[in-house]
Amino acid sequence: MNLLELMTVEQQKQELLRVMDCNKVTEKFGLTLSEKEAKDLMVCRKESLKENLRIEFEGGILPQIIYEFCDSQYINQRSYSETISELQEIFYYYKNESMDLLTDDELLDFMRKQFDEVCFGDLDYLKGTCLERFAGAVRAGCQCHMQSRERDEYTIGDESNEYFSLSQETRWEYELFKIAIEEMD
Protein backbone atom coordinates (compact mmCIF):
# COMPACT_ATOMS: atom_id res chain seq x y z
CA MET A 1 0.00 0.00 0.00
CA ASN A 2 1.53 3.34 -0.98
CA LEU A 3 1.54 6.46 1.17
CA LEU A 4 -1.53 7.97 -0.51
CA GLU A 5 -3.58 4.83 0.06
CA LEU A 6 -2.46 4.77 3.70
CA MET A 7 -3.45 8.42 4.06
CA THR A 8 -6.88 7.69 2.56
CA VAL A 9 -7.50 4.70 4.85
CA GLU A 10 -6.49 6.72 7.90
CA GLN A 11 -8.71 9.60 6.76
CA GLN A 12 -11.70 7.27 6.40
CA LYS A 13 -11.12 5.89 9.89
CA GLN A 14 -11.08 9.40 11.34
CA GLU A 15 -14.25 10.35 9.46
CA LEU A 16 -16.07 7.27 10.76
CA LEU A 17 -15.06 8.19 14.32
CA ARG A 18 -16.34 11.75 13.78
CA VAL A 19 -19.70 10.48 12.54
CA MET A 20 -20.04 8.02 15.44
CA ASP A 21 -19.13 10.83 17.84
CA CYS A 22 -22.25 12.69 16.71
CA ASN A 23 -24.33 10.10 18.58
CA LYS A 24 -23.27 11.74 21.87
CA VAL A 25 -25.33 14.79 20.89
CA THR A 26 -28.09 13.22 18.81
CA GLU A 27 -29.08 10.55 21.37
CA LYS A 28 -30.66 13.39 23.38
CA PHE A 29 -33.19 13.62 20.53
CA GLY A 30 -33.65 9.86 20.33
CA LEU A 31 -31.45 9.48 17.26
CA THR A 32 -28.39 7.26 16.96
CA LEU A 33 -26.46 5.69 14.14
CA SER A 34 -25.01 2.19 14.33
CA GLU A 35 -21.53 1.59 12.97
CA LYS A 36 -23.01 -0.16 9.93
CA GLU A 37 -25.33 2.78 9.25
CA ALA A 38 -22.42 5.21 9.61
CA LYS A 39 -20.35 3.17 7.15
CA ASP A 40 -23.28 3.03 4.72
CA LEU A 41 -23.60 6.81 4.98
CA MET A 42 -19.95 7.19 4.08
CA VAL A 43 -20.38 4.92 1.07
CA CYS A 44 -23.37 7.08 0.00
CA ARG A 45 -21.21 10.13 0.52
CA LYS A 46 -18.52 8.74 -1.79
CA GLU A 47 -21.09 7.91 -4.49
CA SER A 48 -22.82 11.26 -4.16
CA LEU A 49 -19.52 13.14 -4.46
CA LYS A 50 -18.68 11.15 -7.59
CA GLU A 51 -22.12 11.77 -9.10
CA ASN A 52 -21.89 15.50 -8.43
CA LEU A 53 -18.26 15.73 -9.59
CA ARG A 54 -17.05 17.08 -6.27
CA ILE A 55 -14.11 16.26 -4.06
CA GLU A 56 -13.80 16.45 -0.28
CA PHE A 57 -10.38 16.55 1.27
CA GLU A 58 -10.97 16.06 4.94
CA GLY A 59 -13.72 16.24 7.50
CA GLY A 60 -16.68 16.03 5.19
CA ILE A 61 -20.09 17.58 5.62
CA LEU A 62 -21.78 14.60 7.28
CA PRO A 63 -21.27 15.60 10.95
CA GLN A 64 -22.49 19.13 10.18
CA ILE A 65 -25.65 17.82 8.50
CA ILE A 66 -26.29 15.57 11.48
CA TYR A 67 -25.87 18.39 14.00
CA GLU A 68 -27.98 20.78 11.91
CA PHE A 69 -30.96 18.45 11.54
CA CYS A 70 -30.87 16.23 14.64
CA ASP A 71 -33.37 18.37 16.60
CA SER A 72 -35.93 18.55 13.78
CA GLN A 73 -39.39 17.25 14.71
CA TYR A 74 -39.66 15.65 11.28
CA ILE A 75 -36.84 13.17 11.77
CA ASN A 76 -37.28 9.99 13.80
CA GLN A 77 -35.05 7.01 14.52
CA ARG A 78 -36.79 4.83 11.94
CA SER A 79 -35.96 7.13 9.01
CA TYR A 80 -32.87 8.80 10.50
CA SER A 81 -30.14 7.19 8.40
CA GLU A 82 -32.11 7.42 5.15
CA THR A 83 -33.00 11.08 5.76
CA ILE A 84 -29.39 12.04 6.50
CA SER A 85 -28.26 10.23 3.35
CA GLU A 86 -30.78 12.12 1.21
CA LEU A 87 -29.92 15.43 2.84
CA GLN A 88 -26.29 14.79 2.06
CA GLU A 89 -27.11 14.12 -1.58
CA ILE A 90 -29.28 17.24 -1.77
CA PHE A 91 -26.51 19.26 -0.17
CA TYR A 92 -23.86 18.31 -2.76
CA TYR A 93 -26.30 18.79 -5.63
CA TYR A 94 -27.19 22.29 -4.51
CA LYS A 95 -23.61 23.29 -3.81
CA ASN A 96 -23.16 22.78 -7.58
CA GLU A 97 -26.47 24.38 -8.47
CA SER A 98 -25.57 27.49 -6.49
CA MET A 99 -22.15 27.51 -8.26
CA ASP A 100 -20.36 27.36 -4.89
CA LEU A 101 -21.52 30.90 -4.17
CA LEU A 102 -22.92 29.69 -0.84
CA THR A 103 -20.78 28.51 2.05
CA ASP A 104 -21.65 25.20 3.72
CA ASP A 105 -23.22 27.05 6.66
CA GLU A 106 -25.38 29.26 4.45
CA LEU A 107 -26.75 26.34 2.46
CA LEU A 108 -27.38 24.17 5.52
CA ASP A 109 -29.05 27.06 7.32
CA PHE A 110 -31.45 27.57 4.43
CA MET A 111 -32.12 23.84 4.07
CA ARG A 112 -32.94 23.41 7.74
CA LYS A 113 -35.30 26.36 7.91
CA GLN A 114 -37.22 25.30 4.81
CA PHE A 115 -37.24 21.61 5.83
CA ASP A 116 -39.14 22.52 9.02
CA GLU A 117 -41.20 25.58 8.18
CA VAL A 118 -42.12 25.14 4.52
CA CYS A 119 -41.64 21.48 3.58
CA PHE A 120 -42.74 19.95 6.92
CA GLY A 121 -40.11 17.22 6.50
CA ASP A 122 -40.77 16.44 2.84
CA LEU A 123 -37.37 16.06 1.14
CA ASP A 124 -38.78 15.90 -2.39
CA TYR A 125 -40.54 19.19 -1.77
CA LEU A 126 -37.34 20.68 -0.36
CA LYS A 127 -35.32 19.58 -3.39
CA GLY A 128 -37.90 20.36 -6.05
CA THR A 129 -39.18 23.76 -4.98
CA CYS A 130 -37.42 25.72 -2.23
CA LEU A 131 -33.87 24.83 -3.09
CA GLU A 132 -34.40 25.04 -6.85
CA ARG A 133 -35.77 28.57 -6.58
CA PHE A 134 -33.19 29.58 -4.03
CA ALA A 135 -30.29 28.32 -6.14
CA GLY A 136 -31.69 30.18 -9.13
CA ALA A 137 -31.91 33.36 -7.06
CA VAL A 138 -28.33 32.94 -5.84
CA ARG A 139 -27.06 32.44 -9.39
CA ALA A 140 -28.87 35.63 -10.37
CA GLY A 141 -26.98 37.54 -7.69
CA CYS A 142 -29.39 37.42 -4.76
CA GLN A 143 -27.81 37.33 -1.29
CA CYS A 144 -29.36 35.09 1.35
CA HIS A 145 -30.14 36.49 4.80
CA MET A 146 -27.01 35.01 6.27
CA GLN A 147 -24.85 36.57 3.58
CA SER A 148 -26.40 39.98 4.09
CA ARG A 149 -26.13 39.47 7.86
CA GLU A 150 -29.86 39.64 8.49
CA ARG A 151 -29.74 36.47 10.55
CA ASP A 152 -27.28 36.88 13.36
CA GLU A 153 -27.45 36.94 17.14
CA TYR A 154 -29.32 40.26 17.04
CA THR A 155 -32.15 39.02 14.83
CA ILE A 156 -32.60 35.47 16.13
CA GLY A 157 -36.22 36.30 16.95
CA ASP A 158 -36.87 37.32 13.34
CA GLU A 159 -39.56 35.02 12.07
CA SER A 160 -39.58 35.97 8.41
CA ASN A 161 -38.60 33.12 6.12
CA GLU A 162 -36.66 34.32 3.09
CA TYR A 163 -38.20 31.59 0.96
CA PHE A 164 -41.63 33.25 1.06
CA SER A 165 -40.39 36.00 -1.27
CA LEU A 166 -39.31 33.30 -3.77
CA SER A 167 -42.27 30.97 -3.35
CA GLN A 168 -44.61 30.40 -6.28
CA GLU A 169 -46.82 27.83 -4.54
CA THR A 170 -50.39 28.64 -3.62
CA ARG A 171 -50.65 28.20 0.13
CA TRP A 172 -53.61 28.08 2.47
CA GLU A 173 -53.68 30.90 4.98
CA TYR A 174 -54.21 29.98 8.60
CA GLU A 175 -56.21 33.13 9.46
CA LEU A 176 -58.74 32.47 6.68
CA PHE A 177 -59.03 28.86 7.82
CA LYS A 178 -59.68 30.01 11.41
CA ILE A 179 -62.41 32.44 10.28
CA ALA A 180 -64.02 29.67 8.19
CA ILE A 181 -64.04 27.30 11.18
CA GLU A 182 -65.55 30.00 13.46
CA GLU A 183 -68.27 30.76 10.94
CA MET A 184 -69.17 27.09 10.76
CA ASP A 185 -69.63 27.10 14.51
Binding site: N2, L3, L4, M7, L49, L53, R54, I55, E56, F57, E58, G59, G60, I61, Q64, Y92, K95, N96, D100, T103, D104, D105
Partner: protein
Protein backbone atom coordinates in the same frame (compact mmCIF):
# COMPACT_ATOMS: atom_id res chain seq x y z
CA UNK B 1 11.16 17.38 -11.23
CA UNK B 2 8.34 14.92 -10.76
CA UNK B 3 6.44 14.63 -7.51
CA UNK B 4 4.07 11.82 -6.63
CA UNK B 5 0.43 12.30 -5.75
CA UNK B 6 1.21 11.44 -2.11
CA UNK B 7 3.39 14.58 -1.94
CA UNK B 8 1.04 16.80 -3.90
CA UNK B 9 -2.16 15.70 -2.13
CA UNK B 10 -1.48 17.56 1.16
CA UNK B 11 -0.55 20.65 -0.88
CA UNK B 12 -3.81 20.67 -2.77
CA UNK B 13 -5.65 20.03 0.48
CA UNK B 14 -4.05 23.10 2.02
CA UNK B 15 -4.63 25.25 -1.03
CA UNK B 16 -8.30 24.28 -1.26
CA UNK B 17 -8.79 25.33 2.38
CA UNK B 18 -7.32 28.73 1.54
CA UNK B 19 -9.38 28.91 -1.66
CA UNK B 20 -12.66 28.30 0.18
CA UNK B 21 -11.49 30.27 3.23
CA UNK B 22 -12.38 27.18 5.25
CA UNK B 23 -16.06 27.75 4.51
CA UNK B 24 -16.61 24.72 2.26
CA UNK B 25 -15.71 21.09 2.90
CA UNK B 26 -15.88 20.17 -0.80
CA UNK B 27 -14.95 21.70 -4.15
CA UNK B 28 -15.91 20.82 -7.74
CA UNK B 29 -13.54 18.68 -9.81
CA UNK B 30 -12.80 21.68 -12.04
CA UNK B 31 -11.64 23.76 -9.08
CA UNK B 32 -9.49 20.88 -7.82
CA UNK B 33 -7.92 20.60 -11.27
CA UNK B 34 -7.29 24.34 -11.38
CA UNK B 35 -5.61 24.24 -7.97
CA UNK B 36 -3.49 21.24 -8.95
CA UNK B 37 -2.34 23.10 -12.09
CA UNK B 38 -1.55 26.11 -9.90
CA UNK B 39 0.65 23.98 -7.66
CA UNK B 40 2.47 22.37 -10.59
CA UNK B 41 2.93 25.76 -12.23
CA UNK B 42 4.66 27.18 -9.15
CA UNK B 43 6.77 24.06 -8.67
CA UNK B 44 7.97 24.39 -12.26
CA UNK B 45 9.10 27.98 -11.82
CA UNK B 46 12.82 27.88 -12.52
CA UNK B 47 15.31 29.96 -10.64
CA UNK B 48 19.04 30.04 -10.15
CA UNK B 49 18.34 29.71 -6.41
CA UNK B 50 16.35 26.57 -7.04
CA UNK B 51 19.32 24.23 -7.44
CA UNK B 52 17.88 21.83 -4.86
CA UNK B 53 14.74 21.65 -6.96
CA UNK B 54 16.70 20.88 -10.11
CA UNK B 55 18.66 18.11 -8.37
CA UNK B 56 15.46 16.70 -6.88
CA UNK B 57 16.27 17.24 -3.24
CA UNK B 58 13.58 19.73 -2.34
CA UNK B 59 10.29 18.47 -0.88
CA UNK B 60 7.13 19.40 -2.79
CA UNK B 61 5.80 21.99 -0.35
CA UNK B 62 9.15 23.83 -0.25
CA UNK B 63 9.39 23.66 -4.05
CA UNK B 64 5.90 25.11 -4.31
CA UNK B 65 6.61 27.95 -1.87
CA UNK B 66 9.91 28.80 -3.54
CA UNK B 67 8.36 28.74 -7.00
CA UNK B 68 5.48 30.90 -5.80
CA UNK B 69 7.85 33.53 -4.40
CA UNK B 70 9.88 33.48 -7.62
CA UNK B 71 6.69 34.06 -9.62
CA UNK B 72 5.60 36.97 -7.41
CA UNK B 73 9.01 38.64 -7.81
CA UNK B 74 8.84 38.19 -11.59
CA UNK B 75 5.39 39.77 -11.80
CA UNK B 76 6.46 42.68 -9.58
CA UNK B 77 9.52 43.29 -11.78
CA UNK B 78 7.32 43.10 -14.88
CA UNK B 79 4.93 45.66 -13.42
CA UNK B 80 7.85 48.02 -12.86
CA UNK B 81 8.99 47.45 -16.43
CA UNK B 82 5.47 48.16 -17.66
CA UNK B 83 5.41 51.45 -15.72
CA UNK B 84 8.70 52.29 -17.43
CA UNK B 85 7.19 51.52 -20.84
CA UNK B 86 4.18 53.73 -20.19
CA UNK B 87 6.36 56.79 -19.53
CA UNK B 88 7.09 57.20 -23.27
CA UNK B 89 4.50 54.85 -24.66
CA UNK B 90 3.40 55.25 -28.28
CA UNK B 91 1.20 52.83 -30.21
CA UNK B 92 1.33 54.90 -33.42
CA UNK B 93 -2.41 54.46 -33.88
CA UNK B 94 -2.43 50.67 -34.09
CA UNK B 95 -5.62 49.40 -32.45
CA UNK B 96 -4.34 45.96 -31.45
CA UNK B 97 -1.28 47.52 -29.83
CA UNK B 98 -3.41 49.95 -27.84
CA UNK B 99 -5.97 47.36 -26.81
CA UNK B 100 -3.33 44.93 -25.64
CA UNK B 101 -0.69 47.16 -24.10
CA UNK B 102 -2.62 50.24 -22.97
CA UNK B 103 -5.93 48.65 -21.95
CA UNK B 104 -5.20 44.94 -21.53
CA UNK B 105 -2.00 44.76 -19.49
CA UNK B 106 -3.25 46.95 -16.59
CA UNK B 107 -6.21 44.57 -16.29
CA UNK B 108 -3.81 41.67 -16.10
CA UNK B 109 -1.90 43.26 -13.23
CA UNK B 110 -5.19 44.04 -11.50
CA UNK B 111 -6.77 40.61 -11.85
CA UNK B 112 -3.91 38.10 -12.09
CA UNK B 113 -4.20 35.41 -9.42
CA UNK B 114 -0.72 33.99 -8.69
CA UNK B 115 -1.97 31.89 -5.78
CA UNK B 116 -5.00 30.05 -7.12
CA UNK B 117 -4.63 30.39 -10.89
CA UNK B 118 -1.11 31.43 -11.93
CA UNK B 119 -1.44 29.44 -15.16
CA UNK B 120 -4.09 31.80 -16.53
CA UNK B 121 -2.69 34.84 -18.33
CA UNK B 122 -6.19 36.29 -18.77
CA UNK B 123 -5.40 38.19 -22.01
CA UNK B 124 -5.55 37.13 -25.64
CA UNK B 125 -2.46 39.26 -26.50
CA UNK B 126 -3.75 40.13 -29.96
CA UNK B 127 -0.82 42.37 -30.88
CA UNK B 128 1.78 39.99 -32.36
CA UNK B 129 5.37 40.14 -31.13
CA UNK B 130 8.33 38.83 -33.08
CA UNK B 131 9.03 35.78 -30.91
CA UNK B 132 6.95 32.62 -30.63
CA UNK B 133 5.61 32.50 -27.08
CA UNK B 134 3.16 29.62 -27.46
CA UNK B 135 5.12 27.36 -25.08
CA UNK B 136 4.56 29.82 -22.24
CA UNK B 137 1.42 30.48 -20.26
CA UNK B 138 0.23 32.36 -17.20
CA UNK B 139 2.46 34.94 -15.56
CA UNK B 140 5.54 33.75 -17.44
CA UNK B 141 3.92 34.50 -20.79
CA UNK B 142 3.11 38.05 -19.73
CA UNK B 143 6.68 38.52 -18.41
CA UNK B 144 8.10 37.53 -21.80
CA UNK B 145 5.50 39.57 -23.69
CA UNK B 146 6.11 42.77 -21.73
CA UNK B 147 9.83 42.35 -22.32
CA UNK B 148 9.17 42.18 -26.07
CA UNK B 149 7.04 45.34 -25.92
CA UNK B 150 9.80 47.08 -23.97
CA UNK B 151 12.34 46.23 -26.69
CA UNK B 152 9.96 47.45 -29.40
CA UNK B 153 9.27 50.71 -27.62
CA UNK B 154 13.01 51.26 -27.11
CA UNK B 155 13.61 50.72 -30.82
CA UNK B 156 10.75 52.87 -32.10
CA UNK B 157 11.34 55.66 -29.60
CA UNK B 158 14.80 56.30 -31.04
CA UNK B 159 13.40 56.97 -34.51
CA UNK B 160 11.66 60.23 -35.44
CA UNK B 161 7.97 59.85 -34.68
CA UNK B 162 6.74 61.38 -37.94
CA UNK B 163 9.09 59.11 -39.91
CA UNK B 164 7.77 56.02 -38.18
CA UNK B 165 4.15 57.13 -38.61
CA UNK B 166 4.67 57.85 -42.30
CA UNK B 167 6.40 54.52 -42.92
CA UNK B 168 3.55 52.72 -41.19
CA UNK B 169 0.89 54.69 -43.06
CA UNK B 170 2.50 53.95 -46.38
CA UNK B 171 2.83 50.28 -45.60
CA UNK B 172 0.92 48.64 -48.47
CA UNK B 173 -1.16 46.37 -46.24
CA UNK B 174 -2.10 49.17 -43.88
CA UNK B 175 -1.43 48.96 -40.17
CA UNK B 176 -3.98 50.71 -37.93
CA UNK B 177 -6.63 47.99 -37.74
CA UNK B 178 -4.48 45.00 -38.63
CA UNK B 179 -2.72 42.58 -36.32
CA UNK B 180 0.74 43.41 -37.66
CA UNK B 181 4.00 43.96 -35.85
CA UNK B 182 5.01 47.62 -36.15
CA UNK B 183 8.73 47.00 -35.73
CA UNK B 184 8.77 44.47 -38.55
CA UNK B 185 7.36 47.08 -40.96
CA UNK B 186 9.84 49.76 -39.90
CA UNK B 187 12.85 47.42 -39.87
CA UNK B 188 11.93 46.20 -43.37
CA UNK B 189 11.95 49.76 -44.63
CA UNK B 190 15.29 50.55 -43.00
CA UNK B 191 17.03 47.41 -44.25
CA UNK B 192 15.67 47.76 -47.81
CA UNK B 193 16.90 51.36 -47.85
CA UNK B 194 20.33 50.07 -46.91
CA UNK B 195 20.15 47.39 -49.62
CA UNK B 196 19.84 50.03 -52.32
CA UNK B 197 22.53 52.13 -50.66
CA UNK B 198 20.39 55.00 -49.49
CA UNK B 199 22.29 57.24 -47.10
CA UNK B 200 19.24 58.00 -44.95
CA UNK B 201 16.32 55.69 -45.00
CA UNK B 202 13.58 57.01 -47.20
CA UNK B 203 9.89 56.74 -46.57
CA UNK B 204 8.98 56.25 -50.21
CA UNK B 205 10.91 54.56 -52.98
CA UNK B 206 10.78 55.69 -56.58
CA UNK B 207 10.07 53.23 -59.39
CA UNK B 208 13.75 53.21 -60.23
CA UNK B 209 14.57 52.36 -56.62
CA UNK B 210 12.02 49.52 -56.57
CA UNK B 211 13.61 48.10 -59.73
CA UNK B 212 17.08 48.35 -58.19
CA UNK B 213 15.79 46.66 -55.04
CA UNK B 214 14.21 43.87 -57.08
CA UNK B 215 17.42 43.26 -59.01
CA UNK B 216 19.46 43.23 -55.83
CA UNK B 217 17.12 40.69 -54.22
CA UNK B 218 17.12 38.38 -57.24
CA UNK B 219 20.89 38.59 -57.47
CA UNK B 220 21.43 37.66 -53.82
CA UNK B 221 19.01 34.78 -53.43
CA UNK B 222 17.47 33.64 -50.18
CA UNK B 223 20.51 32.69 -48.10
CA UNK B 224 22.71 35.62 -49.09
CA UNK B 225 19.80 38.05 -48.73
CA UNK B 226 19.15 36.79 -45.23
CA UNK B 227 22.85 37.18 -44.33
CA UNK B 228 22.99 40.65 -45.84
CA UNK B 229 19.90 41.86 -44.04
CA UNK B 230 21.16 40.40 -40.76
CA UNK B 231 24.46 42.22 -41.20
CA UNK B 232 22.65 45.48 -41.92
CA UNK B 233 20.51 45.01 -38.84
CA UNK B 234 23.61 44.36 -36.75
CA UNK B 235 25.18 47.54 -38.12
CA UNK B 236 22.01 49.54 -37.38
CA UNK B 237 21.80 48.29 -33.81
CA UNK B 238 25.52 48.81 -33.19
CA UNK B 239 25.55 52.35 -34.54
CA UNK B 240 22.18 53.62 -33.40
CA UNK B 241 21.16 51.50 -30.42
CA UNK B 242 24.29 51.12 -28.27
CA UNK B 243 24.96 47.56 -29.51
CA UNK B 244 21.88 46.34 -27.63
CA UNK B 245 22.27 42.59 -28.14
CA UNK B 246 18.83 41.78 -26.74
CA UNK B 247 17.25 44.21 -29.21
CA UNK B 248 19.25 42.77 -32.11
CA UNK B 249 18.25 39.21 -31.24
CA UNK B 250 14.63 40.28 -30.98
CA UNK B 251 14.46 42.16 -34.29
CA UNK B 252 16.44 39.43 -36.06
CA UNK B 253 13.31 37.27 -35.73
CA UNK B 254 11.63 39.39 -38.38
CA UNK B 255 14.22 38.64 -41.06
CA UNK B 256 13.07 35.16 -42.11
CA UNK B 257 9.56 36.35 -42.97
CA UNK B 258 10.98 39.51 -44.52
CA UNK B 259 13.24 37.50 -46.86
CA UNK B 260 10.33 35.37 -48.09
CA UNK B 261 8.14 38.45 -48.69
CA UNK B 262 10.92 40.29 -50.54
CA UNK B 263 11.81 37.34 -52.76
CA UNK B 264 8.15 36.76 -53.67
CA UNK B 265 7.71 40.46 -54.26
CA UNK B 266 10.79 40.63 -56.50
CA UNK B 267 9.78 37.55 -58.51
CA UNK B 268 6.25 38.82 -59.09
CA UNK B 269 7.42 42.44 -59.53
CA UNK B 270 5.15 43.81 -56.80
CA UNK B 271 7.72 45.01 -54.30
CA UNK B 272 5.67 48.21 -54.00
CA UNK B 273 3.09 46.05 -52.22
CA UNK B 274 5.69 44.54 -49.87
CA UNK B 275 7.79 47.49 -48.71
Amino acid sequence: MKYGLDELFPLIQELSKKYTQNSSTSIPYETAQQLMEAILYCINEKSEENEALVTGQMPANAAYETGYQVLIKKIEATLQLYDQIMKNYNDYGNTAYKDTVFHGLPEFFRRYDPQFCPQDHLLTLDYPVLVDLHEFQGGDLIVKYVNCIWLEQQFLAKLPVNHVTKVLSQSPQGYQDLFVNLCAIVVKKILCSMLIHQKDWEITFSDREYRALGNQIKELGQVALSERLTAFLQFTINSGFDRNEQLFNYLKNSIDNMVVELINGAEREHLHLVV
